[in-house]
Every structure is written in C-alpha cells, then in structure tokens.
C-alpha cells in the first residue's frame, strides 16, 4: 500500500475523474481534478451547482468511488479500498457535518457524539474523554447532553454535529454546506467554530459551499467549475469571492 506519511497534505487527489451512467447518457461530474489539502487548513471548495464540488468531497471522504485517478487520505491510498475498509476509514479518520439530518433522532446529544466510538465497540480513552468534555463546554452543549435532536434548534443541532465530527480527532472534517439550513447569525457562529477548530487545534477541515460569506472564513478557497479546479485562492473577503464567482458565471455564459 503506497503511503505518503511525511506529506504535509492530509488529503490528496490526482487525475481524479468521476462519471455516471454509460453511453449517450453519460454524465461527467469530475474531469481530472488535482488537489491537495494542507494539514491544519480550513479549506473551502466553492463552485456553482453542478460543478462537481459535492462529488469531489464524497470521493475524498470515502463515500463514493473514483472512475479514474488516485485518492489519498492521511497515510492511506484509498483508491482501491473496498466498502469495509472505507467504512472503518470513515469511522476512525473522517468527521462529517452535513447541511441537515446530521443526527440520529433516537439518540440524545451525548449518544450522538459518542456514536463513532460505540460503532467501534469501545469507550473513549481518558484523553479522548477530556477532549470531548472540552468540546461540550466550548460548543455550549453542557446543559443539553440528555436532549434529543428534535428538542434542539437548528444551530444547536449543527453544534452537536461539529462535536461529533471533532470527537475522534479525525484527519479531516468534511462539511457539506454546513450553514445551508441556518439563519445568517447562527450560520456565522457555526463557521467561527469550524475556523476556530482549525486555528487552535490544527484540525484540517474541508467545506463545500456556494456561499461567499461562508467561504470567507476559510484559509484557502478552491474553485470548481465543470468538474475541474479553475482557481485556488488564499483567504479572501466575501466581496472578492462574490466577484470571482460572478466572473466565473459570466465566463460560463459567454
């Protein structure tokens, strides 16, 4: 199994393509993407609808398989991982925050956060327990631990999802439009928490979004269009990001 142990990159894809269907109805979602995420960075992946940004994230996170190209996560080349290996990889090395439906309705807050450990059939170690306690405090969940998801607001649910994603200290946390369902104030709060996890704890985060305000919290913004990386920018203001997006739209229309 080829590894890239000493690499500064926490996740990497090279020559990645992904197409669905066959023959005349074939749809190409990714058409040769090369991208490496830096360890400890908060990276935003932007692009219009249909640009392939979600597909890219799914493949990088071990949720979907590549048609061609190679995929690395941490020290593993996961390109040819089978379902069982990918499942363990997701459980132990990856964290997820989705737009909605992040939590299991039958478990309370604590149960949801501890789920990845329990699926592994183990209790958190002493240091992991301390880390989870820290997360409960810093995310303001301390007095909500026995609540079920339906008793929480959208923002609170998203904070529980963040706690769960960070609890196992994964290589990368993948966030798919994490603020898509929140009002702008709550959304900003969630983004600050993600940015803070990267800045203070060195947590690598990759966030898919089409919202320039959300992307402005990231250390780096990668733009996708028609299944290809078209721009790669450092931290930018929402205005600058909007301008880039707008320019991309106009180019596409021309």
């Amino acid at each position: 199994m080829p590894t890239n142990l000493a690499s500064p990159h926490v996740a990497r894809v090279s020559g990645l393509t992904r197409s669905y269907g066959a023959g005349a109805s074939q749809v190409t979602a990714l058409a040769g993407v090369d991208l490496a995420l830096n360890r400890g960075d908060f990276t935003a992946i932007m692009g219009p609808s249909g640009s392939g940004k979600s597909t890219l994230m799914h493949i990088m996170a071990g949720l979907d398989a590549a048609t061609d190209g190679r995929v690395w996560l941490g020290e593993y080349d996961i390109t040819n991982f089978d379902d069982a290996d990918l499942t363990l990889l997701r459980r132990r090395r990856v964290g997820f925050v989705f737009q909605s439906f992040n939590l299991l309705p039958t478990l309370d807050v604590r149960g949801n956060v501890l789920l990845p450990f329990e699926l592994d059939g183990r209790k958190p170690t002493e240091s992991e327990r301390q880390w989870i306690d820290t997360l409960f405090d810093s995310l303001g969940l301390r007095d909500r631990l026995t609540h079920r998801p339906h008793e929480l607001s959208g923002g609170q649910q998203q904070r529980v999802a963040i706690a769960r994603a960070l609890a196992t200290r994964p290589e990368v946390v993948f966030a798919d439009e994490p603020t898509g369902n929140l009002d702008s104030r709550t959304g900003r709060e969630v983004l600050r928490l993600l940015a803070d996890a990267a800045a203070t704890h060195g947590q690598s985060i990759a966030m898919v979004t089409h919202d320039p305000v959300a992307a402005s919290f990231a250390d780096r913004v990668v733009f996708l269009a028609d299944g290809k990386v078209v721009r790669d920018e450092p931290r930018r203001t929402p205005e600058q990001l909007s301008a880039i997006m707008l320019a991309m739209e106009t180019e596409a229309a021309a």
């Binding site: 949720l63 997701r90 990856v94 997820f96 737009q99 439906f101 309705p105 039958t106 329990e118 439009e177």
Partner: protein, 458 residues
C-alpha cells in the same frame, strides 16, 4: 399495497376454504343415514368455522390498519404537497380509503377463488382416497359471500382507520425540510382507557366465575369464553400502553452492542406503530398457546381421572391428538396473516429511514452492523409478541381447562396448566424463522443505501 392485497387474499381464501369444506362435510353427513344427530354436528361445525373466520378477519383488519398507517407516515411529504396545492385533507383520506376498498375487493375475489379451488382439491382427494363418497355439493354457493363481504368491509374500514394521520399533515411540511414528527401518542384517550380497564376487569371476573362454576357443572366454559374475549379485547385496545415496556425489557437482551441499542430505540420510536405491529402476532401466539395449553391440560386431567376411573376414558387420547392438530393448523393461519403484517411493516420502516441509514453508513457503520441492527429490530418485536402471547395463552388455556374439566368424573379438582413443550418449541422455531424472513429484504435494501444518500438534501 401489495401487503394489503396479500392479507385480504389470505383471509378471504382461508374463510372461503373453511366454509366450502364445511359445506362438503355437511353434504356428506346429510347423505349418510348412519350418522345420528345431524343438527348438532352441523351446528358445531358451522360455529367453529365462523369463529376461526372472525379471528382471521380480525387479525387481517389490524394488520391492514397498521400497513396503511405506516404507508401514510412515509408519504407525509407527498401528502403535504398535494395539500399545499389545494386538495382537502378529508378528500385525501377518502382517496386512501377508496384505494383500500379496491385492493380489498381484488384480494377478496382472488382469495375466494383460491379458497374454493383448495376446498375442491381437498374434497376430490378425500373422495379418491375413499374417505367418503362424492358429496354432490355445488361450490357455487352463496355462503362464500360472507367471507368475501367481511374481508372487503374490513379492509375498507381498516384503510379508513389507518389513514387517520392524514388529517394531521400540515401543508407547510412540503416546504423546507421539516423534521420527522416523532411523537405519536401511545394509547388512546382516557375514555378508551376506562373502557379497556372495565373490559379487562369484567373479563377477569367472568373467567374466575367460569372456573368456580366449572368445579361443579359443565357450564363454566361459557362464562370463561366470554371472559376471555372481553379481557382480550380490552388488552388489545390498550396495547400501546403495555407493549412498549415489554419491548424495552426484551430489548435489554440486545443492549450489548451499539447496533442492538439503536435497534431497540428504533422499535420504541413509534410506540403506537410497534404495538400495532406486534398485536396481530400477539393474538396469533395467544390463540395457539391457549389451545396447546388447554389440550395439554386436558391430557393431564384425563390422565389423572383415568387413573381413578380407567373404564370411562378409553381411547380418548387419540381423538384429542387429532383435534389438536387440526385446530392448530386453523389457528396458525391467523398467525401467518399477522406475520405478513410484521414483515411488511419492518420493510416499510426501513424504506422510510433511508437517510438515517445513509447517515449511519457515512459515520462508519459497517454493512454487517446495519444487518445486525435490522435483525435485532425484528427479533425484539417477535420475541415481545412471543413472550406476551405465551404468558396470556397460559393464563387463558389454564382457566379454560379448569372451567371445562373441573367437574368431570375423577377430576383432581385443581391442576397446574400443562406445559405443551412441543408446541412451545415449535413457536420458538417459527418466531426465529419469522425474524429471519422479516429482516432479509429490509437488510438487503438497507445495506444498499449509499452513504451519499444522507448528504443529499432530498
């Protein structure tokens, strides 16, 4: 709707076959001048047939109500959308009930034909085997309209009852991603509870009276049967109050693993739904157990009495054996209808949890863990039905025996219920088979859910 069709078909086929066979037997008996006392024999034959038909149709009604309720729960978004566009809630509900009427009618007609065919086959086989002469019986008998009508009516009413929740769907649920409504109240209002408790109390009193009367004269059975029916109806009405606690208790068996704990939580998520899912099976198991315990207790009683007065009880055990076998098959069919309901409900539940299963897979739940979870769900439900049904069956079976046989010659007066080991083992095996059967299709579907499904916004 396939399940409703199957359930209606099974109930109708069973009812038709039973009545047609009864008709054939009646023709045979009437043609035979040797057999004395025609009237009583025919009456008993008919009463028995109708009792079993009522039980089967009752179970099919409960199963259909539950199926429709589950389907409605899964279609909430679609229903909300047509409500949003402007269809009335009442209209929507009437549409579902009408669909039920149609499916029930189709199932009943198919079942009727199958049942008649089966009866004709049995009669032909009996004639060929020389058991009795050709009966000269016409299968074009108006009597089949009774199970036919009963099944159609029951399916219609059950669809109406099961679609009650349509009225609670808010049109705005079609917008945004409304969270699934988790809280369905378990059990009905206070009024229903009072009626149920009264029925159970009355039934228990009648059972006790039956036992007391049965010690001296043979009429105790009447009081005991009435008591059994009353108390069981009361229990069925409020199943939502006592099934979930038992389910939780049984669920303790699966609490060692995370998938097991999740499975138990899943079965308790809709207490009303789980109760309905299990109540059909509880009825089936209770009936089979009641019967088996009664027969076993009969044997024990007779054995004791035989020792006291051997000349009175010659050759009784063979007769008891064949009666037990026939009745067990007849009762077992209601249990089969209940089993169809359980399999279907579990499939629908899994279908409705696609996103949740996707989330579990995304978070690192292996396919084997998902399979284990669904197997544990099915097992928790069947075990609960088995435990409750066996407990109730022992109670009723023992009371029935005391009421029937307390007075007979050489009776020991009081005897503990006989334990029908063979029958119990059979039920455990049947429950295990049902658990596996109920979880195969949902498991396959669940493990095919791509984790990407959880991330999709719809």
């Amino acid at each position: 709707m396939r399940a409703t069709l199957l359930v209606a078909g099974l109930a109708a086929a069973f009812g038709t076959a039973l009545l047609q066979i009864t008709g054939v037997l009646a023709a045979v008996i009437l043609n035979n001048p040797v057999l004395g006392d025609h009237e009583t024999t025919l009456l008993m034959l008919n009463i028995t047939a109708y009792v079993f038909i009522v039980i089967a149709v009752y179970v099919s009604g409960i199963v259909t109500t539950n199926t429709v309720a589950t389907v409605v729960a899964g279609r909430r978004r679609t229903i909300a959308l047509v409500r949003l566009i402007g269809r009335g809630a009442g209209e929507e509900r009437a549409r579902i009930a009408r669909e039920g009427l149609l499916v029930g009618a189709l199932g009943a007609v198919i079942g009727c034909l199958v049942g008649t065919g089966f009866a004709a086959l049995v009669a032909w086989a009996a004639v060929v085997a020389g058991l009795f002469p050709a009966p000269g019986y016409s299968y074009l008998n108006a009597v089949v309209l009774i199970p036919l009508g009963g099944v159609v009516l029951t399916t219609w009413i059950a669809s109406w009852a099961g679609s009650r929740r349509v009225l609670a769907v808010r049109p705005t649920e079609a917008l945004g991603n409304a969270v699934e409504l988790d809280s369905e109240p378990a059990g009905g209002g206070t009024g229903r509870l009072v009626v149920a408790v009264a029925l159970v109390a009355l039934g228990a009193g009648a059972l006790a009276a039956g036992i007391a009367i049965g010690q001296s004269i043979p009429l105790g059975l009447l009081a005991a049967v009435a008591g059994g029916l009353l108390s069981f109806t009361g229990l069925t009405m409020e199943a939502g109050r006592f099934v979930p606690p038992v389910l939780r208790l049984v669920g303790g068996l699966f609490a060692r693993t995370q998938p097991g704990r999740l499975a138990v939580e899943n079965t308790l998520r809709h207490p009303e739904r789980s109760s309905r899912m299990t109540i059909g099976l509880i009825i089936g198991v209770t009936l089979v157990t009641t019967f088996a315990v009664t027969m076993q207790s009969f044997r024990d009683f007779i054995a004791v009495a035989q020792r006291a007065q051997p000349e009175v009880y010659q050759g009784t055990s063979q007769v008891l054996g064949s009666i037990t076998a026939i009745f067990t098959v007849l009762i077992g069919l209601s249990a089969l209808i209940a089993a169809v309901g359980l399999v279907n409900s579990l499939s629908l539940n899994v279908l409705q949890r696609t996103r949740e299963l996707g989330l579990l897979r995304a978070l690192g739940t292996t396919a084997a863990q998902v399979r284990g979870m669904i197997l544990a769900e099915a097992a928790a439900l069947t075990l609960t039905a088995l435990a409750l049904g066996v407990a109730l069956g022992f109670l009723y079976g023992w009371a029935g025996t005391q009421a029937v046989l307390g007075w007979i010659k050489g009776s020991p007066g009081f005897l503990w219920p006989g334990v029908p080991w063979g029958m119990l083992a059979g039920q455990v095996v049947a429950a295990a088979v049902l658990t596996l059967a109920a979880s195969v299709a949902p498991s396959r579907r669940a493990t095919r859910v791509s984790p990407v499904a959880a991330l999709a916004v719809d």
